[in-house]
């Protein structure tokens, strides 16, 4: 069985992708080849294919058919995976977690629900979530999510939907451990604005981190989505 991956193509790090990638189902001649398609151009419903497993980003889960695999943007970044490893070294992580994203105005707000899903897997079940947002007709549009994970962790997640370059900042203030990441400062080339690699991931990562969609996952994401769109609980 082969794979079809829907993704933002500008996010893909081809150098660290080890799988053989083709750009259409028609060109898939071997079962171990992976078809990589643009998530902004292709609808999952048009890809019903018994011979392939389908991998889609969490932001378009509402368009999905049963039996697909969903992946979360945040979970795929190499920096986030390393940060997760460090936080998980603590038996019961205690501290203050801060995530900040600057994202395109056209990006789906479902991204926030996906981040909540990922962070609740890392930091524990959410006890209380509070959402504040500015007037969505004015750019930039800013959203603040305050989360009490109850077991000794509190978090602020902040999203600025704007026409600026994409950026992620993350801070963890734990017990005797402080982690700080800012994609803006991760210029792997000595050229201002060239931080694309900091916010890229491989197709292999997408497949490895994806979650089989079941009712529990759908319910959790829907719950987070309702909170983000509907206010506090």
């Amino acid at each position: 069985m082969g794979n079809i991956v829907l993704a933002r193509l500008d996010k893909i790090d081809y150098q660290s992708t080890l799988r053989t990638i083709v750009d259409s189902v028609e060109r898939q001649t071997e079962q171990n080849e992976t078809v990589l398609l643009s998530s902004s151009e292709i609808k999952p419903a048009t890809l019903s294919n018994e011979n392939n497993s389908l991998f889609i980003p969490s932001t378009i889960l509402d368009q999905a058919l049963e039996g697909v695999n969903v992946y979360f943007d945040l979970e795929n970044y190499p920096f986030f995976r390393k940060i997760t490893e460090v936080i998980e070294r603590e038996n019961k992580p205690k501290g203050v977690f801060r995530l900040r994203r600057i994202i395109n105005m056209d990006e789906s707000k479902e991204l926030i629900a996906g981040d909540l899903y990922v962070l609740s897997s890392l930091l524990g079940e959410t006890q209380n979530i509070q959402v504040k947002h500015t007037n969505h007709t004015v750019a930039p549009y800013h959203v603040i999510v305050t989360v009490n994970f109850g077991s000794g962790t509190m978090a602020h997640m902040e999203y600025t939907f704007s026409y600026q370059d994409e950026r992620i900042e993350l801070e963890w203030s734990g017990i005797k451990t402080i982690l700080e990441f800012d994609s803006e400062t991760m210029h792997t080339l000595g050229q201002k604005g060239n931080n694309a690699l900091a916010l890229a991931y491989s197709v292999d990562s997408i497949i490895a981190t994806a979650h089989r969609v079941d009712q529990r996952l759908v319910n959790r994401l829907n719950n987070f989505s309702m909170l983000v769109n509907g206010g506090a609980h």
Binding site: G95, Q130, T134, V138, P140, A155
Partner: protein
């Protein structure tokens, strides 16, 4: 100008005294501190006279006092100094309760003395530059703020609630609330907060996240904590990011530093070389007294910042937002 100092319980007293010593037109005429050992030591250091009797100290001929006591004693010292007709610079937070702060402001008004609150972050050159950019319209309309004020656990009376009135959230919320109010010219109308104690095993809060809403719909976050340990490269921070409709700009009061690496448990240190905010605060206060003008940071500014910090505790207890 003759200025006296009341208590060196707060560590900022030392940099304020250093500031006074560097002003040519100012004489540090005496130090009141009823911790006699500390009072004698600092009086010797600053070559001035020590008083352990507050009444005798306030009978001296002087224009103003700087109060750096434990938080819960601000009220007593401000009221006594005001009644003795001394102008006052009071360390933040203004008080430990809203009622005390209101009484202090009223007594200063009645006695026609200046009450300025020590918010030195207002004198950070980066904070002032950002203020000018906002006033010049370079950011457009403000949409949101993101602020932080994290530091180390100061210990001592700071972690005794009776003396301090609160932990990290009280200690490290008022500065940045003051900056946001200053930038926006609007008041905060809603506070939601999570306050807890994570880092030091102490009976007082050392971590807090605040979500704020201003009367004009601007929203803001604030991270207040004593989460920095001594091996961290710097003591802490005071930062603000202003999200505007034209651009987003960040100011960091302690950004101007170089990195110093040494062999040892603290391998990396940030060595700060920016402007001395404490000195600029003292100079502003002295100018204010000299010119007899309204202080740049009033008692009311101190009260507004205190109200937000106290609302954060209430919100955390109630697990819901608090309206101001």
């Amino acid at each position: 100008m003759k200025i006296g100092m009341m208590s060196f319980a707060h560590m900022h007293a030392y940099s304020y005294a250093d500031g006074l010593m560097n002003l040519p037109n100012v004489e540090l005429v005496g130090i009141f501190d009823d911790d006699s050992d500390r009072g004698k030591e600092v009086a010797e250091k600053y070559r001035t006279k020590h008083f352990n009797n507050q009444k005798s100290f306030l009978e001296m001929d002087m224009d103003a006092v700087i109060i750096c006591s434990e938080n819960f004693r601000h009220k007593e010292m401000v009221i006594n100094a005001a009644k003795a007709n001394k102008h006052i610079l009071c360390e933040k937070p203004i008080a430990t309760t809203v009622e005390d702060a209101e009484e202090m402001i009223n007594v200063c008004d009645e006695n026609n003395v200046i009450l300025q609150i020590a918010f030195p972050v207002r004198f950070s050159s980066s904070m002032r530059r950002l203020k000018n950019m906002i006033d010049n319209g370079e950011l457009g309309d403000i949409v949101a703020f993101r602020t932080t004020n994290r530091g180390q656990n100061p210990g001592g009376w700071f972690i005794d609630k009776e003396q301090s009135g609160g932990g990290a959230v009280l200690d490290h919320t008022v500065h940045m609330v003051d900056i946001m109010r200053w930038y926006l010219g609007k008041e905060i109308m809603e506070v939601h907060a999570i306050v807890d104690s994570y880092f030091h095993g102490i009976d007082i809060d050392d971590a807090g996240l605040l979500t704020l809403e201003f009367e004009n719909g601007v929203i803001a976050t604030h991270d207040a904590s004593w989460s920095r340990f001594k091996e961290y490269p710097t003591w802490g921070d005071a930062t603000i990011e202003v999200v505007g409709t034209k651009q987003t700009v960040t100011a960091d009061a302690f950004k101007e530093h170089f990195r110093m690496f040494t062999s040892g448990p603290k391998s990396l240190s940030h060595v700060f070389y920016g402007n001395d905010m404490d000195f600029d605060l003292i100079r502003d206060f002295v100018n204010c007294v000299e010119e007899g003008r309204k202080p740049s940071i009033t008692g009311s500014d101190g009260l507004k910042a205190l109200e937000v910090a106290l609302a954060a505790y209430k919100s955390s207890e109630m697990k819901s937002a608090v309206k101001l």
